[in-house]
Amino acid sequence: MTKLIQSLAIAGLTLGAGALTASASSHREAPAIAEDQYVDNTDVYAFISPNNPGNLVIVADYVPLLLPASGPNFYKFSDNARYEIHIDNDGDAVPDIAYRWTFRSQRKNGATFLYNTGPVDSLTSPNLNVTQTYRLEKVNERTRQTTTIMDNVPVAPWNVGSRSFASYEPVALQAVTTARGVTSFAGPRDEPFFVDLHVFDLLGVGGAHTTDGVNVMSLVLEVPITDVASRGTRPVAGASGKTSVVGIYASASRPRVRFLRSGRGHDNFGDFVQVSRLGWPLVNEVIIPLQDKDKYNRTSPRDDVANFGAYILDPEVPKLLNLVLHANCAPTPAMGRLDIVGLLGPNGTKAADLLRININQGQTNNDSHFPNGRALTDDVTDTLLTVACNNGGKVGDGVDANDKPFTASFPYLASPHSGNPPRP
């Protein structure tokens, strides 16, 4: 890749410095996970609830770049995986709490190839043939004590098309469930990440909205901040200690052993092994090089500095921007990019790839913008490229907003694109 870029530079290729490199936040970002799409983390968002400033909203997206017309086996969550959101509430980069989703698929009629056998107007419709339910648990990651928050909760169905769903979104929103003060949604949504993926054609970006029109599988959680704060207490306004922020990452895990039997399906055994993780956007995508991408997905944030710290201190991105796009990014200072280290470890917390957000009293939704949490509307590609380039100017990929507006109420993400929209 570097040689190709050098060749391009030698050949005199110049591109506008206003439209620079980017990639999907963490979509198919490592070789191994690209072979296991259903457990591929794509993005994590965290923000103070716009409707209740006492609540924290966390979104964890999986299964990247989904075509809406993807039948007959439409996308879902894996039945053989654990999907988790981990929260560190005392600044040591070791998770204290996890919310864990596990899924189970059902079908009403195995004698048809159809996902639904007629129009669907509710989640309990007999025409909804293929369904999925989940259990949501809260795990104390220090003691491993697990509490079931809700069980047998329906996953929102795929937006098959206008013949199947005359009005899709009201049906999908029936999947919003609240128990023990926790509100959860699991199901397909419009892909909220916006970027020009032409970066992978030799950095050929220029404002193309390449993630428009595709969907993603979303887990959305809204919890009282006191449920995740250290000792169950929200810090006072202006507090600046390690417990004034929580650090969040999402992961997916698979059973250690899978037995494939000739003619008899398969079985899973053993404990669960992490196969994917994500905190900040774009870290494994563009900070971690190919040789370590799979290794990154297997490890924990608490070891990020020990394992990958040198990549953070001297990132590759600004060098590529200079080499290929003559972006005039600042050279890495002799002491390294301590500014990035500082962003990864605010308020004295241990630097790690965790999405950290201030949870002090008085914090509102307006305060939740990357890198203090991450709002759905945040153009993190531009933010991170600007930080990486570090030359006082703004750089970006030319894509500044999502194709669909986000919603003001839970689950906040836009309705997924239809597999067969009404025709004029």
């Binding site: 090089p289 500095v305 020990a306 394992n307 040198a310 990132p315 002491m335 390294g336």
Partner: protein
């Protein structure tokens, strides 16, 4: 029979994990007293090509090394939480590892004293390579124990 086979596979998988985590007790080979971190990085790159991870671990683990490293204050804030840069910045970061230091008694204070409030300072340290994680599956991590400060400069 089938259950036994399953049990065997699970046990083998668990034992494999344990083997990787256990330090290898091997006699210390000569010739590493003056080996630098660049030498280690070179051997890691070679093991990545040839799959010679066990040999690499046996050769280096347990050795005493004397390296000049960079201490960034943000990444080495206490005796119990200290990683240092093994290579000069602006050298292409071909490997990501930053050694974790476990200090001999009083030596973190020596480090803090000589580096003061500087954001970064170069120090020559001596320590034992107590744990070296090198494999095709997990990222390289290096832990130096009984670390003593030899010299320091800003």
């Amino acid at each position: 029979m089938h259950k036994c086979l399953v049990l065997l596979v699970i046990t083998a998988a668990a034992c494999g994990q344990g083997d990787r985590a256990q330090p290898q007790q091997q006699p210390s080979p000569a010739g590493l007293a003056h080996a630098s971190q660049a030498d280690l990085a070179r051997e890691i790159a070679e093991a990545d090509r040839l799959g010679t991870w066990p040999e690499l671990q046996r050769r280096w683990q347990g050795q005493t090394v004397r390296w000049t490293v960079t201490r960034q204050r943000l990444l080495c804030r206490s005796a119990g939480d200290c990683n240092v840069a093994a290579f000069p910045i602006q050298r292409p970061a071909r490997q990501g590892w930053m050694p974790e230091l476990q200090f001999a008694p009083g030596q973190y204070d020596v480090l803090a004293g000589v580096c003061g409030d500087r954001e970064a300072c170069d120090v020559t340290i001596e320590g034992t390579l107590r744990q070296l994680e090198v494999s095709a599956e997990l990222p390289t991590s290096v832990q130096l124990a009984n670390v003593k400060i030899v010299t320091a400069r800003s």
